[in-house]
């Protein structure tokens, strides 16, 4: 039997969230990606995060570009809005959607090819404009759909499946996001859901551009010795700066931590990011420090993961542009065409 739908039978004690949905209600169609693709794990993490956050599926808009990564929105949140845009153009379509309706939760899904090559300009401007979104890059370092050529995020010196060494310098999207003004920047690994799920939750509840670079091994073309984006390599070189616990405002904080072990960040909506220290004293509120740390560890061949930067007083594009609060589709005729007397008043004010 090829690609049948996941059986609907549930275990009798299947948990339900506050809306009465099960985790399965946040799933989408069955994945057609290669077996073992890291992207499927990211989809599962998005599903879990939305389930845990009691998000109403119709309140989410998921947008993507082109590529293996950009196929994944079909595989999660089957009851949400979706837009599969042209290659690399997800950020501008998403920006437009966000301008038209700020009530939705925007999730942009992209890949290393879609965001670091053809769409790098789009990526840069979405970050610097402060679009209120969660920008997920499913980063595997290769062009999987065209059989495994190096992508722009492949590390210099890493080898492809045939043993050819990459001679180009890599683009680090996390470094770019930090520089361009993203207000929530994280890196994670598809094989570590304990780290990834809270990061996605924090991003979905963040105001302003939240960027997460998720290293997601391509089992078919980039999971061999010599690759720096394989399951084994990432596990060996994963250098987490902190572990995040995401706490909704309604939840009790149950875990106890030793003093000095914990950093507490309250986001604009009251949700709390509890950051547990892992090794070094890392300050996630220091943008410059984050950029330095990233460069230092990268030079040592380490992959820095965790919540690298967060600005709890962030602002979004709507504030900068002073946009109308109501979604455009709810603005009625009388509001849009206030009539002759309003025009007359405006003209008078300019005389």
């Amino acid at each position: 039997m090829t690609y049948f739908a996941k059986p609907k039978l549930l275990r009798p004690d299947t948990p339900k969230n506050a809306l009465g949905y099960t985790r399965r209600d946040y799933e989408g169609a069955i994945s057609s990606l290669c077996a073992g693709c890291g992207h499927d794990s990211i989809s599962a993490a998005v599903v879990q995060a939305c389930f845990d956050l009691d998000i109403q599926p119709h309140r989410v808009a998921k947008l993507s570009g082109i590529g293996c990564s950009s196929k994944t929105p079909d595989y999660f949140l089957g009851n949400s809005h979706g837009f599969n845009t042209t290659h690399g153009r997800m950020p501008s379509v998403l920006t437009g959607a966000a301008l038209a309706n700020r009530d939705l939760i925007y999730l942009g899904v992209s890949g290393d090819g879609d965001s670091a090559s053809i769409g790098i300009g789009q990526f840069a401007h979405a970050m610097r404009r402060g679009v209120d979104m969660t920008y997920l890059v499913e980063n595997n370092g290769v062009y999987g759909l065209t059989k495994g050529q190096f992508s722009a995020t492949a590390d210099k010196g890493s080898k492809n499946k045939r043993g050819v060494v990459n001679t180009d310098s890599p683009i680090d999207l996390v470094a770019l996001a930090l520089q361009l003004g993203a207000t929530y920047v994280a890196r994670s690994f598809s094989g570590d859901k304990e780290q990834l799920i809270p990061l996605i939750k924090g991003a979905l509840r963040h105001r302003g551009p939240a960027f997460i670079d998720v290293i997601s091994p391509c089992v078919t073309f980039n999971n061999h010795a010599g690759s720096t984006k394989s399951y084994d390599y990432v596990r060996e070189h994963n250098d987490a700066v902190n572990r995040l616990d995401f706490i909704l405002p309604r939840d009790q904080i149950e875990a106890s931590y030793a003093p000095g072990e914990l950093r507490r960040v309250v986001q604009h909506d009251g949700s709390i990011l509890l950051l547990r220290k892992v090794k070094t004293d890392y300050d996630p509120s220091d943008r410059v420090g984050a950029m330095n740390h990233l460069q230092e560890r990268h030079a040592l061949g380490e992959i820095v993961t965790g919540l690298l930067f967060v600005d709890s007083a962030s602002e979004s594009m709507h504030r900068h542009l002073n946009t109308v609060e109501k979604p455009l589709n709810q603005l009625h005729d009388a509001y849009l065409c206030p009539g002759n007397h309003a025009l007359a008043a405006l003209n008078a004010s300019l005389r």
Partner: protein
């Protein structure tokens, strides 16, 4: 936890809940698949080898498999395993050429079986097939024992009994009907190499309350009455009938009475409805035939008018449980209830009775009057005498009798060949990958979401007029296929090879019932609580892998795995594979493994 050894004989067998629950360990999923494929004769033969009476059991089995069915844990109702068995019996071709051919050269060992019920016939079948000469003695005119005398014909027609007993007898069993054995000493003196006692639990329990003797003409013991009905000695009942008792015999009594002129038939039970011994489906059938079941009433007295029964007086009780969970029935203090009736059938239990076994013949009995047996070998204190069926450990059911028959046949064979009886031959097990392509398996792994199919029945009004008219029509091939599709194929085992795993989480993400977790190892109690979905069903094992590269282990809760194979489909390295586990109990004649 230590890594699970799936090579241990019971581990994967236990995952196949239905087969594990079946006393005869019938390979249920295998015959269900064959039924769905329209290979009815092959499905029948799988049943025939393991439970001997597929057509009979497909109608009247106690179905221990169905409450165990995994489908019942993830869906409203289990697969209709029993009635699918009937399908293969109903729709098969002539299977006589598939039956074993006993060797032309006999082994000169002579075995006597006392009673021609399911246990004795199983012993006879197993032993005749490997060259023994078996003689069966029964007081009745035809084979089948309680299957013929106690089960009403509207549930089990004689034609089915004749056919399936015939398959055994025609292998060359020497049958002696209307032969009442009245002395074990005499039997032993005849020099048999072994004697098997399968005489059942032939005595119905008595209800000794005032009025029993005086009104005896209108009060009958259930199983005796059923036998009289079965053989045509009793042809009608009074209009108002009370059946005492809450077991399956009581259900057979009331439904038979309903078909023999009983207009106001009711069942009165001491216990509550839920605690009744009758199978839920039998209670349902009785209720559907307009028979009320009245609970928590203890009979106090049979009221009569000069020997003419007028009614039964009952005391109302309530159940109370002590600290150990033992129940006692205490009077509620409410006024007694008098129910008027013309006839009473007592079906409050059965007892063993061995009046023909001399107590000084050397065979030990326990304080309950049951023979002292080795439970593994069914051998009595007389080494050449074996017991099985209800005669062994008290009243159970047909499928248990068949299972006893198989074990006793193995024991008798080993006894006759002077082998150690406690060393039993091993079951045949096999584990084979079902992978045919990237997303192709040799079984239908797409899980059906249909609900259990109802078995079509004839019009009730019609069947209530004729006690010999079988009520159920049985599934047609289309219904059978749809019902068979509900089977989760629990014998297609999920087998995990830890060395091949790259811990990509694909199996965890895809599993529809969240069975799989990768986590740090610890003790079972702790591990059960830490899984993606806590493993609360302690009857179901955890499948734990060896330590993986990251130091974690794979833990799979076997409880509600749908065996859909999605973990194996999404596994990039083939660390998960779907393999068919075939388990066949050992048959008489097989050798025990060397030490």
């Amino acid at each position: 936890m230590k890594p699970t050894d799936i090579g241990a004989p019971d581990y994967l067998h236990k995952v196949v809940d239905c087969q594990w629950a079946c006393p005869a360990h019938t390979p249920v999923p295998e015959y269900i698949r064959l039924t769905a494929a329209g290979r009815y004769s092959d499905a029948y033969m799988i049943n025939w080898h393991s439970n001997v009476f597929p057509g009979i059991l497909g109608r009247v089995c106690d179905r221990p498999c169905e409450p165990a069915c995994r489908r019942g844990r993830v869906d409203a109702e289990p697969v209709a395993i029993c009635r699918l068995k009937r399908v293969c019996a109903d729709l098969k071709d002539d299977i006589r050429h598939l039956l074993p051919k006993p060797p032309a050269q006999k082994n000169l060992k002579r075995i006597a079986c006392i009673g021609a019920g399911p246990a004795s016939l199983t012993v006879a079948r197993d032993l005749v097939a490997i060259g023994y000469q078996v003689s069966v003695f029964d007081s009745g005119k035809s084979p089948g024992g309680m299957m013929r005398s106690q089960i009403p014909k509207f549930r089990l027609p004689d034609s089915v009994l004749d056919e399936e007993c015939g398959y055994i007898i025609n292998l060359g069993v020497d049958m002696h009907y209307e032969h009442w054995v009245n002395s074990l000493r005499d039997v032993l003196a005849e020099g048999w190499d072994a004697v098997f006692v399968g005489t059942g639990a032939p005595r119905g329990r008595e209800c000794e309350v005032p009025g029993r003797l005086e009104a005896a003409a209108h009060i009958h013991i259930g199983i005796d009455w059923l036998a009289n009905v079965s053989f045509g000695h009793t042809t009608k009942t009074e209009k108002r009938v009370i059946v005492l008792g809450g077991g399956n015999t009581a259900m057979d009594c009331c439904r038979s009475a309903r078909r023999m002129g009983g207009e106001d038939v009711k069942v009165v039970v001491r216990s509550g409805f839920e605690e009744m011994k009758a199978s839920p489906w039998e209670k349902e059938d009785a209720i559907n035939e307009g028979i009320p079941i009245l609970n928590m009433l203890v009979p106090l007295e049979f009221k009569h008018d000069n020997g003419k029964l007028t009614g039964v007086l009952f005391e109302k009780v309530r159940a109370e449980y002590d600290a150990k969970g033992r129940r006692s029935l205490l009077p509620t203090g409410e006024p007694h209830v008098l129910m008027e009736c013309d006839e009473v059938l007592i079906a409050i239990g059965q007892e063993n009775s061995f009046p023909w076994i001399e107590r000084d013949v050397g065979l030990e009995f326990d304080k309950w009057g049951l023979p002292v047996l080795n439970p593994a070998t069914l051998q009595s204190s007389l080494p050449n005498v074996f017991f099985g069926g209800d005669a062994a450990f008290g009243p159970k059911n047909i499928i248990t009798a068949v299972a006893h028959g198989h074990e006793a046949a193995i024991s008798i064979d080993r006894f006759c060949r002077k082998r150690d009886l406690l060393r039993r031959p091993s079951p045949l097990t096999n584990l084979v990958s079902q992978k045919m392509g990237i997303h192709e398996w040799s079984y239908d792994n797409n899980v059906s979401e249909e609900s259990r199919k109802k078995v079509p029945i004839k019009a009730r009004e019609m069947t209530l007029l004729d006690i010999k008219l079988e009520l159920e029509i049985g599934f047609d091939p289309f219904l059978a296929c749809a019902e068979a599709d509900r089977c989760l194929n629990c014998d297609i085992a999920t087998v995990f090879t830890d060395k091949a795993c790259i811990e990509c989480d694909a199996c965890v993400d895809i599993c529809p019932t969240e069975c799989i977790t990768f986590t740090a190892n610890s003790e079972e109690d702790d591990l059960r609580g830490r899984l993606k979905a806590p493993a609360k069903n302690l009857d179901q094992a955890l499948y734990v892998s060896g330590t993986l590269k990251t130091g974690r282990v794979m833990v799979k809760d076997e409880n509600i795995c749908l065996h859909c194979g999605m973990c194996a489909e999404r596994c990039p390295t083939g660390a998960w594979d779907m393999r068919k586990y075939f388990f066949k109990t050992a048959a008489a004649g097989a050798e025990a493994p060397r030490k």
